[in-house]
Symmetry: C2
């Protein structure tokens, strides 16, 4: 049962980094505040340059200095913690200054969540190309956040979640040709464990079921069409099963994503980026959420990019960002609930 | 307009090889005949061992010696052209004799279609593992049929078709790790051309639109995550466009299979098996049809395997086989119509 020590704490707001100021991040965060009731959103605070939002949105901003002020400010305006811009961003025109701003906002949003003043971090879309240009050396935001939280990148996992499917890729932003050499039983096992624990911690599923995808067509047909299933995937599944986890596979990747198959698992462990993203986006393009598992904090993001091509034209769809906010709040509540039960 | 030379010819029946006699082929072919009105099926003739069907079905068989007799026999019983079995097959228990039978039935069904007595060939599911055991050296039925029709395998293409998506993989039953080395601009161009011509010939689409998938995550991000897009895919697209075809891409594979994206093309050209099959089966698991493009004949098959595990238990779903028959009849009609218009 809930202990009094936790029950008296008001839910803290989400910290939402607005991402690249020249992308659609500022617009979708503002549209989420506009539609906060319809989307069923919890209080949140934007983290970024107010000017980037004002360029694309006419609503009221409520500048705050601490996320804890966001709760009372939330009905007055979009709460924002200011990250000062060196120069104003122009929608659709990515710049070095914008990349710095995106990274600073991300750092601050992570810090606010690490310190406990925000309940979770939701990250707006950044341009990896722009970040690389200012010396960012991580493959993506996920690995950067893992490092800031002191977690080895093999022990975190990126989950893509939609209403009827959750997938977790073992390898992510690597060339197709390098996927086979990157796969090992140890990595598959680590990602699988992160996925299983994440289903428990972020989704409150006590006995999660994980379905593991094969790499090769027809799951390799017993070694006739590739051996990664035999050499790496099956040993990883055996190791996880030996720990008592419910894990099945390797499954032919083309036979595990229809409705009847999806009913048999809580998440699918996929071997590479597109194996996880193709089914997720085919089924849930407008509402896919990226959830980082294995961190001490809750982190989610909308599963789309900066969309520089439509930035500033009021055409950005805020539904994925809204879904990311709801997923973050839900995961934070699941963790708080687990704490309460343990206390 | 239809010329009198063709208008007087009655539609010829489909030749349907029943596949491995120990698989679900015999059952789904029989169930298609049972439900021929409900499924909207044209007259067809089964090609295989009558005993394999009688083991799993109590309905009437109508043994015929020539497909042209099937039309009048179709209301009396399931027309069948007999391929004699060396020994009876047991459902769920694949055997060497069964593999020989499957291959003989396939040969005969192709021959009947090549000779023009059948309008198209629909192939039931075979076990490649079993076929390999009797010395079959083709990667699959598709390559075998191409050889029997005297067409180079690079110039045929396997299309997977469902109600809202058609995909064509450039590489098929090869290990994941070998896909990058097998891709070349020439192969992608050849498969793309086969896909485009197939959309014209089998679907009657005068100006087909082809969307070409990237190989790497995020389409390689300008070479940051792999170079196959730059080195092979873009040149192939340029070559096809230079011929006047409507071709787009390379598209990030995870962003081309949701409903809004699918509305922009008639078929997606995919670089590997699972890239084509994952979205097709996620969306259309029960009704996926395999259509071989680039052949002088029409050939389709249901997009599933022998399912030895459920053979003989009356649980096989005939809908994909029915869809394959309808697709074959439709493609044969489109070709006949094109002939009539040319005459």
């Amino acid at each position: 049962m809930a202990s009094s020590a936790f029950a008296s704490i008001a839910p803290r707001p989400l910290a939402v980094s607005i991402g690249d100021p020249a992308g659609i991040g500022p617009e979708i965060v503002a549209k989420c505040w506009d539609n906060r009731d319809r989307f069923g959103l919890p209080p949140f605070v934007a983290v970024g340059d107010p000017g980037a939002i004002e360029q694309v949105w006419d609503g009221p901003l409520a500048v705050v200095g601490d996320p804890r002020e966001a709760d009372s400010a939330f009905d007055i305006g979009l709460p924002i913690i200011v990250v000062a811009a060196a120069e104003p961003a122009a929608p659709g025109q990515p710049s070095v200054a914008g990349a710095h701003l995106a990274l600073d906002a991300l750092e601050l949003a992570i810090g606010l969540t690490r310190s406990g003043t925000a309940s979770a971090v939701v990250t707006g879309p950044v341009s990896k190309e722009q970040l690389y240009s200012i010396g960012f050396s991580h493959p993506g935001q996920t690995e950067f956040i893992a490092e800031r939280c002191g977690v080895a990148s093999a022990n975190v996992a990126m989950m893509l979640a939609g209403p009827s499917l959750r997938t977790v890729p073992v390898t992510i932003h690597v060339p197709f040709a390098r996927v086979p050499e990157m796969l090992s039983a140890a990595l598959i096992e680590a990602r699988g464990r992160a996925a299983l624990r994440g289903l428990q911690r972020n989704f409150g599923i006590a006995q999660p079921r994980l379905a593991v995808a094969a790499l090769n067509p027809h799951a390799g047909e017993g070694g006739m069409i590739g051996r990664e299933e035999i050499d790496h995937i099956e040993p990883a599944i055996a190791a996880l099963r030996a720990e008592g986890w419910h894990v099945t596979g390797p499954h032919s990747a083309d036979s595990m994503f229809h409705a009847a198959a999806r009913a048999n698992y809580d998440a699918a462990l996929c071997m590479y980026h597109d194996q996880a993203l193709i089914p997720l986006k085919a089924l849930h393009f407008e509402e896919g959420v990226n959830i980082t598992l294995g961190l001490p904090i809750v982190r989610t993001s909308p599963d789309h990019g900066t969309a520089f091509d439509i930035a500033g034209s009021d055409r950005a769809d805020p539904r994925a960002m809204a879904a990311a906010m709801r997923a973050a709040a839900s995961a934070a509540a699941a963790r708080l609930n687990a704490c309460s039960q343990a206390a």
